[in-house]
């Protein structure tokens, strides 16, 4: 049998968690195989069972409450589930290794990375401490950590997120495993660092010939590196097959839905086609096909009969678990460009004008006598304008200052320098009553829908609170009717007014947050990473909602995000930030089709495109190094330390953000390049 020859074969794997609330079937019969040198992507949203499956393979499911309820995991024919604890321990790390999403948290903070690598090496073979120490340095060099000999003595908290993930990879490779399981290895990383780490992983895999299981929710990452993909939903594999064929003709309605939900950085597309509803509660998985409540093809049969994972006729290596495989449509989305509403024509006054905004956070000196040792320059000279009814996308990697800009505009932080005018008023000069009145016109939607709603207030009370605070917004007698109306407009049931935040899913909570912002009847909504905590299928619902509401109410939006694909989808104009400054700004099409600043070019090129046939990847720009510290930024152009165009001039002269080509598309680079010479856009 072919199965016996596979490097790793998982058959009918089942994992349950028994808790006080009931029995959770996290993994519900998972099947897949992995060959030597192959990269298998396991794709799924949160709660799909992908991480639990990986932990079951490794034998590290917490037990109790977890329990492997059935199935087999054969590594070169040997069933790992039958091994005793000590034999299984010798498989872990030695034959199957694993890396985790948050590398900082997966390293013990109390030991140096060298100690942790040596310990792992010596658990596998009888090395002397000196030999293990030398091997540790070799390993750090192999994962391209600069100055490995010195850094081997550093503690995990001294490494950046990207570097910590490299250390994790070094640890995983220490005992030369046959299989590496990477559980969301780049989800916590910035896009330019993600590109570096994925590159490293595929190089190392090619070198060692190990099998790689990549667990991710990101269709783009899958398209970049995987040979085959297994799509999971509600604890089951619903579809599996070679990457090119599967992306070209998805074989399961859920896969189609995922692809339709995801905006793309390389294309301008029309409205996102979100999957309706939300992923199932694993304590109450729907009978029959678990996807049927969200599926457009669902019929009576889907409610009763669970579809098996069967081979697709005429398509070698592909399997799908759908009764109506033959009826699955291709990807439905039109490629019609949505119209861009760029304001500022005919001398219109901007709603918001920001000039020379600076926010420094001084470091507190520990001694009374010594002077402050410096300041973190979070925002260092930002100018932009925003017109009524338009959406400005503010993008950049973590720490670039985009959220600080928002907090300063909301007057949650005091600006160090600079001015801002909102509807003609000097925003930073407002005090007392005037400030309170202004606040109702600028509202915020937060990233974390779990912590930004008061858990002791009902949805109705949360939405009506603004009217209580700002008298005159709505007469008391109308509160209830208005709250119900707002809930309906954001796609919730008006009767949900009586429920508390914990009774809603993440996406629904974000809808409540949006309803609360709308209750103020604001002129500007600042959305700070509003969809980054949500699953892809839910993200699309919220993005669509924001767009509809904006059109309906004519509200201006500042959309802050690190996800360039979402920003492309939703923005009229885009400003790219790097280390506290805007390096380039223009209309969405200018930024995405003709980026002129090297940072924008690199950023766009680093975004994984969910298309295995995309040629862009061949000419990808992978930036060296990481963002320097904001305490002591590089002189001149702050990007020069990572820029391939850098020349001596860049160290001396700060490039101004000016319109270098007369297209209304300012760029802060001495060597800005107007040609579409970069592998982005379509």
């Amino acid at each position: 049998m072919a199965q016996a020859e596979a490097l790793l074969a998982v058959r009918d794997l089942r994992v349950e968690f028994r808790t006080a609330a009931g029995l959770t079937r996290a993994v519900n019969g998972v099947n897949f195989t992995l060959e030597r040198g192959e990269t298998l992507a396991i794709l799924g949203e949160s709660g799909s069972g992908k991480s639990v499956s990986a932990q079951a393979i490794m034998g590290i499911v917490d037990s109790p409450p977890g329990r492997i309820a059935g199935g087999s995991v054969r590594l070169q024919g040997e069933d790992l589930l039958q091994l005793d604890a000590e034999a299984m321990r010798r498989v872990r790390g030695h034959r199957i290794a694993m890396i985790f999403q948050d590398a900082q948290a997966a390293l013990d903070p109390a030991f140096t990375v060298g100690q942790q690598i040596s310990e792992t090496l010596r658990s596998g073979s009888p090395l002397s401490p000196q030999e293990a120490g030398e091997r540790a340095i070799d390993l750090l060099e192999r994962v391209k950590i600069p100055e490995a000999r010195r850094r081997v003595h550093d503690y995990p908290h001294q490494f950046s997120g990207g570097m910590a993930q490299r250390v994790m990879i070094a640890l995983a490779l220490a005992l030369e495993p046959e299989v590496l399981i990477a559980d969301e290895p780049t989800t916590a990383l910035d896009v330019t660092v993600q590109a570096q780490v994925m590159q490293l992983l595929s190089d190392l895999q090619a070198e060692s010939g190990m099998g790689l299981i990549l667990i991710t929710h990101d269709l783009g990452v899958v398209a970049e590196v995987a040979d085959r993909v297994a799509v999971m939903y509600a604890g089951k594999v619903v579809e599996t097959g070679p990457i090119a064929a599967l992306y070209a003709r998805p074989g399961h309605p859920y896969t189609v839905g995922l692809m339709d939900s995801m905006p793309r950085v390389d294309r301008q597309e029309g409205r996102l086609l979100a999957i309706r509803g939300s992923p199932p509660n694993l304590m109450r998985i729907p009978a029959g096909c678990a996807f049927h409540p969200r599926c457009a093809l669902a019929q009576e049969r889907c409610l009763q009969e669970t579809p098996a994972l069967l081979p697709l006729p005429d398509e070698p290596g592909r399997h799908s678990a759908c009764h109506f495989v033959a009826d699955i449509p291709g990807r439905r989305r039109s490629e019609v460009s949505a119209e861009v509403a760029v304001g500022g024509a005919a001398g219109e006054e901007p709603l918001l004008r920001v000039e020379g905004l600076v926010k420094h956070f001084p470091l507190r000196s520990r001694s009374l006598l010594r002077r402050s040792p410096g300041a973190v320059r979070a925002v260092d000279g930002v100018d932009f304008e925003l017109y009524r009814g338009e959406t400005l996308g503010l993008v950049g990697e973590s720490g670039c200052g985009k959220s600080t800009v928002a907090r300063t505009l909301l007057r949650l932080e005091r600006a160090t320098a600079g001015r801002a005018w909102f509807a003609g008023e000097d925003l930073f000069a407002l005090r007392g009553e005037a400030l309170r009145n202004m606040r109702q016109h600028i509202q915020m939607v937060f990233q974390d829908p779990y912590s930004s709603l008061n858990p002791r207030m009902t949805a109705g009370a949360i939405v009506s609170e603004p009217w209580e605070v700002h008298e005159g917004l709505a007469p008391r007698g109308e509160w209830r009717a208005r709250a119900r109306d707002l809930l309906r407009r954001v796609g919730l049931d008006p009767d949900d007014e009586r429920r508390y935040p914990h009774e809603f899913s993440g996406g629904q909570r974000q809808r409540i947050g949006i309803a609360r912002a709308l209750a103020f009847n604001p002129q500007l909504i600042i959305c700070d990473e509003p969809v980054s905590a949500l699953d892809v299928s839910i993200q699309a619902q919220i993005v669509n909602l924001l767009q509809d509401l904006q059109r309906e109410f004519g509200i201006a939006v500042i959309f802050i995000a690190h996800d360039l694909s979402v920003v492309r989808h939703i923005s009229d104009r885009v400003a790219v930030m790097y280390m506290g400054r805007i390096v380039e700004t223009g209309t969405r099409d200018q930024i995405y089709n003709q980026p002129t600043h090297p940072y924008t070019q690199a950023l766009l090129s680093a975004v994984p495109v969910p298309d295995p046939e995309s040629e862009a990847r061949q000419r990808r720009i992978i930036l060296e190094g990481e963002v320097p510290g904001a305490l002591d930024p590089p002189s001149g152009c702050r990007f020069r330390t990572r820029c391939w165009k850098a020349e001596p001039r860049c160290a001396q002269e700060v490039p101004a953000l000016i319109d270098r080509f007369g297209h209304g598309h300012p760029s802060a680079c001495h060597f800005a390049d107007a040609r579409a010479s970069v592998p982005v856009g379509g």
């Binding site: 013990d108 658990s123 908290h157």
Partner: protein, 310 residues
């Protein structure tokens, strides 16, 4: 690192100063010390004479300056009660107290940590429930009651050990046992909750995924991280042990600093009280300093944030 310790040392000196000032104030508001020395019936003449002898006729500011000056040169004057210099008499008693507290801690720490760690590994198991009962007893049962019960059971009923006095091991066992019970309970509780926190963290799962032996994952990785709160509580418990020593030493007639404190207080022996409080304060300050140094070893983040401003 050195700058951090230097700063901590400086803070300790400040704390010592504050403690000394409090001792001074307390000594003056408890009543006229001269009357306590000479007795209620003494003539006004004699009172005046003794007041001058003891320099208690000077203005308060001057008295305070003298007191601080003397304390810095380790002079606490002559005991009213024993008519000998107070500090040497206090220092004589230290070994007895130190033996007792060291023994109590030497019992409580390893036992408490082991019990706490074992119950964290198997929550709600039999060992966990036993530990729970033991530690609940430790934090609830007052020392004098426990001391009396132990005396009732061992020397009185069984004829084991001695009820009171100072000498060989037979005098030592019961006070040490009494004294160790409270810190044992606290340490077991804190270890359990700290270990439960640590065992749930991703690095534990990642350490298992690397194929490290379970022993190593639990007793090297998780325990070292859990040690930070355990250490904090141990420092506090050491200070509390000195409190406990006052009662335990009195009950068992153990000639330590605790018993001396009580005796000095009963006799309103101001120099002796001042000397004992000073010695205990120094002891606690040194303990805290040692705990802080141990922190920097256990938690590298403290070490580096401290080095950062050097």
């Amino acid at each position: 690192m050195l700058a951090y310790l230097a700063r901590r040392l400086l803070q300790s000196v400040a704390v010592t100063f504050v403690v000394l000032s409090l001792v001074f104030v307390a000594g003056r508001i408890l009543g006229d010390p001269v009357r306590l020395v000479v007795g209620i019936e003494a003539s006004e003449e004699r009172v005046q004479k003794v007041r001058e002898q003891l320099n208690l006729n000077q203005p308060l500011g001057q008295q305070y300056a003298n007191f601080i000056g003397d304390a810095l040169s380790l002079q606490f004057g002559t005991s009213f009660w024993q008519k000998v210099p107070a500090l040497p008499r206090v220092l004589e008693r230290i070994p007895a107290t130190l033996t007792l507290t060291a023994a109590a801690l030497a019992l409580a720490l390893p036992l408490g940590i082991t019990l706490g760690a074992l119950s964290a590994l198997r929550p709600w198991s039999r060992i966990d429930r036993v530990t729970n009962v033991i530690s609940l007893g430790g934090v609830s049962i007052v020392e004098f009651w426990l001391a009396l019960m132990l005396i009732l059971i061992f020397p009185v009923r069984l004829g084991w050990f001695k009820t009171s006095g100072y000498g060989g091991i037979e005098y030592f066992v019961l006070p040490a046992l009494t004294l160790c019970y409270k810190p044992l309970g606290r340490i077991a509780q804190i270890t359990r909750s700290a270990m439960l926190d640590e065992l749930a963290k991703p690095y534990v799962k990642a350490a298992r995924a690397r194929g490290l032996a379970e022993r190593r994952v639990v007793f090297v990785h998780a325990l070292k991280n859990a040690a930070v709160p355990v250490l904090t509580i141990s420092g506090d418990e050491l200070a509390a042990l000195l409190n406990g020593a006052i009662i335990v030493e009195t009950v068992f007639g153990w000639p330590g600093i605790g018993r001396l404190t009580i005796q000095a207080l009963e006799r309103r022996d101001l120099p002796m009280v001042e000397a004992t409080v000073f010695v205990v304060a120094i002891f606690i300050i040194v303990t805290n300093l040692l705990v802080d140094m141990a922190y920097t070893w256990l938690n590298p983040r403290i070490r580096f944030s401290a080095a950062g401003d050097a």
